[in-house]
């Protein structure tokens, strides 16, 4: 039977939390109820990336891109689109029926993207190994097992120039080669899926949308370096990703793509999942290995590096999810193909989780060398609610802010470092004029202080002290000597901490201090918060010229701080006011101002 329509329903965590699972089942039920079950195939895929507009439903072959779909819409989608062949205009992204074959790529969000890592996300069913195989999956493994020597694989990876996508950007081929050269007969391959940066969900989406790409890559690496066992370390708070990985591993074992004598090559290899409890420090490779071994996740001094002494003291290759997902494509299409994408410093693409105050938040994959301006304004659609752009934080709690002045810097490992930030794993949080830079720095620092394992003093004590100083500043108790002290503590943390968590924890403070010194000064000298965010430094006041005395705010105020006669300007009692902002939201005449 030939299907006429294919309905792709996004099954990423974002869309699932908006009931895409119900949409999926409702579509199947409706198709049967309306007698078209034989014409349409409903497929649950991985993340489409356009999370802002989720849940996403795409219907082929018309390529109709439906957004913000609800389970209740299933009936209409089947009745109109599938039965009668009319697009449901109100649910289309651009709200207008498109001409024949205007493609989804025409949507601006997708225009500047290039999908290598996310190649199968949103187009295949991640819980069906056959679809992965059909999309070219396990071709790379085949090539590695039967046509290439391990040295060929290393050479190909070297030509490709893939650098670790976990943040540090270390050449992947080198890691593999170090482990390959070790003579120890027992070696391991590890996938770091302990994604922990605030706002980052690249690895999660990759695993949810295309789990086999990671399994295949780890098997390729195992064969190349001489390992027979792999581990995926993933946080327990990613249940959907874990489930899809388990399904994928089960299917791979049934096909003998994992296990003994893979494809008759004589090569044995299997993978196990290890669940982490969600400690940020376990994303650091030595802490991660400790955790897999069953110890408390604390970083160890390097050298020795895991490549020579890793898991249980054996040579271990450890790469991050996104790095792995690139590997099969490199093997199939060749290192030169990969090297032709991106910049001389960084080849290939990078996936970013674009969040914060942008219009189109979501998962984006762009060639290295794309500028931040393109990501934030072209793909991201600019700042939401017509506000002014202030800065972007890249590299999570280890990175820094990037301001308007550097928006045109091409993004690659070197480029971001030069402007005081870092690639990190790919979290990208956009801030607008309403965000207080001191408050943001405090947020990240609080995060690293919470997540510090406590092993070394510069991180454990330094982080807390920095936090206290920032707290003091946002409370209006800052002194001019504070800035000097911040710099001193930050310096001590950078040189004295054992792992990257402590070494980079001061970065958000230092970089915000570098780019927005005037904002720190306003807090310290003038006791003002220019963005109106720090509650201790602001007061709500009613502009008597604008207030018409409608009493709306007075009735809404939860603490009764607003008084006045009807039809006459009201007043806020600053001693009682808790600065919750309800009055400002209530006022229809913009009479309430923050000072």
């Amino acid at each position: 039977m030939g299907f006429k329509n294919y309905i792709l329903v996004c099954g990423g965590t974002g869309c699932e939390s908006s009931r895409s699972d119900q949409i999926y089942h409702a579509l199947i039920d409706e198709a049967s109820a309306q007698g078209v079950a034989d014409q349409v195939q409903v497929i649950k895929t991985g993340c489409f990336g356009f999370c802002e507009q989720g849940p996403i439903v795409k219907i082929l072959p018309e390529d109709s891109f439906y957004v913000q779909v609800k389970p209740e819409d299933a009936k209409e989608l089947i009745a109109e689109h599938v039965v009668k062949g009319r697009e449901v205009t109100r649910l289309l992204y651009n709200k207008a029926p498109h001409k024949a074959y205007e493609e989804v790529e025409d949507i601006q969000f997708y225009q500047k993207q290039k999908r290598i890592v996310l190649r199968n996300c949103g187009s295949i069913d991640p819980e069906n190994i056959d679809e992965y195989i059909a999309a070219g999956g396990y071709k790379a493994l085949e090539k590695v097992l039967f046509e290439m020597t391990p040295d060929d694989v290393i050479a190909e990876m070297k030509t490709a120039g893939l650098r670790g996508r976990g943040g540090a950007g270390f050449p992947t081929w080198m890691k593999w080669n170090f482990t390959k050269q070790e003579t120890n007969p027992e070696k391991y391959v590890v996938c770091n899926a302990d994604e922990g940066d605030p706002g980052a969900y690249m690895d999660r989406s990759t695993l949810e949308g295309d789990p086999h790409s990671v399994l295949e890559a780890m098997t390729i690496c195992g064969h190349t370096v001489g390992a027979h066992q792999g581990f995926i370390y993933i946080r327990a708070e990613y249940p959907l990703a874990i489930h899809r990985l388990e399904v994928a591993m089960k299917q791979a074992r049934e096909y003998g793509l994992l296990g003994k004598n893979i494809l008759g090559s004589g090569f044995d290899y299997d993978i196990e999942i290890r669940l982490g409890a969600g400690a940020f420090v376990c994303g650091e490779e030595t802490a991660l290995l400790q955790s897999i071994e069953g110890h408390r996740g604390m970083p160890q001094p390097r050298p020795p590096f895991p490549a020579s002494k890793g898991l249980w003291g054996k040579p271990t290759v450890i790469n991050n999810v996104e790095t792995w997902a690139n590997v099969p494509e490199i093997i199939v299409k060749g290192g030169e193909w990969f090297a032709s994408i991106g910049t001389p410093d960084s080849h290939g693409t990078k996936v970013f989780a674009l969040t914060g105050k942008v219009c189109n938040s979501g998962l984006v994959e762009v060639p290295m060398g794309t500028t931040l301006r393109e990501i934030v304004f072209d793909i991201g659609g600019g700042i939401a609610h017509g506000k002014k752009f202030k800065a972007v934080q890249t590299g999570g709690p280890s990175g820094g802010v990037i301001t308007e002045a550097n928006l045109d810097t091409p993004i690659d490992f070197g480029g971001l470092q030069k402007i005081g930030s870092m690639m990190g794993s790919g979290g990208m949080i956009v801030m607008d004029e309403d965000d207080c830079i001191v408050d943001v720095a405090k947020f990240y620092l609080n995060f690293t202080v919470d997540e510090s394992c406590g092993k070394c003093a510069p991180c454990r004590i330094g982080g807390k002290s920095l936090c206290n100083i920032l707290e003091k500043i946002t409370q209006g108790k800052g002194e001019e000597s504070d800035i000097k002290q911040i710099e001193q503590i930050a310096h001590a943390m950078k040189i004295g901490s054992l792992c990257a968590l402590g070494q980079t924890a001061p970065n958000p403070v230092l970089s915000s201090l570098h780019f927005f010194p005037e904002e720190y000064e306003a807090h310290i000298k003038d006791k003002k918060c220019p963005s109106g965010k720090c509650k201790k430094l602001i007061s709500y006041e009613i502009n008597p010229d604008k207030c018409i005395g409608c009493t709306a705010c007075a009735r809404k105020c939860p603490v009764g701080a607003i008084s006045g006669e009807v039809k006459k300007p009201h007043k806020i009692n600053g001693n009682v006011c808790i600065k919750c902002g309800v009055c400002k939201d209530t006022c229809k005449f913009s009479a309430i101002e923050i000072h």
Binding site: M1, G2, F3, K4, Y6, L8, D38, Q39, L60, P61, E62, D63, V83, K84, G85, R86, A100, Y101, E103, S123, I124, D130, E131, I133, A134, A135, Y138, K139, E142, F146, E254, Y255, G256, L257, G259, K260, N261, I262, L263, G264, S265
Partner: protein, 126 residues
């Protein structure tokens, strides 16, 4: 013993690739539209549509996309439109199962316009 041999894997890939390629919207040159309004369905357009979809599958045509539209009345339904770069727009009327098979075999596969099924499209009455 390996569970899956290399040739098994190739067989799976070949079989599944065909299915996956049907979802691909690139590289489609011929567009078939079946009028599936109430009057069209009443005249048997569903059977027509299913026949066309099945025949395309059987013939292994990969450059064809089949979609549907609303009512084509007052034309003799079921109405099927075929757009292709070579023959432009051709409209067929009273397309039952047998005619549908001919359209796939003669027009889609061989590029020949079937003159005896061809109709002039009359505008819809509002």
């Amino acid at each position: 013993m390996a569970k899956l041999s290399l040739s098994d894997l190739h067989a799976i890939r070949e079989r599944e690739e065909k299915n996956l390629r049907k979802r691909d919207i690139h590289g489609k040159t011929i567009h078939v539209v079946v009028a599936m309004g109430t009057s069209g369905i009443d005249a048997g357009a569903k059977l027509t549509l299913n026949t066309i979809a099945d025949e395309i599958e059987k013939a292994g045509l990969e450059n064809v996309i089949v979609t549907q539209t609303g009512s084509a009345a007052p034309n003799p339904e079921p109405v099927v439109e075929v757009y292709s770069p070579d023959s432009g727009l051709v409209v067929y009327g009273s397309v039952g199962s047998a005619e549908a098979k001919r359209i796939v075999a003669e027009h889609l596969k061989e590029g020949k316009i079937i003159e005896d099924l061809r109709i002039e499209l009359k505008d819809k009455e509002q």
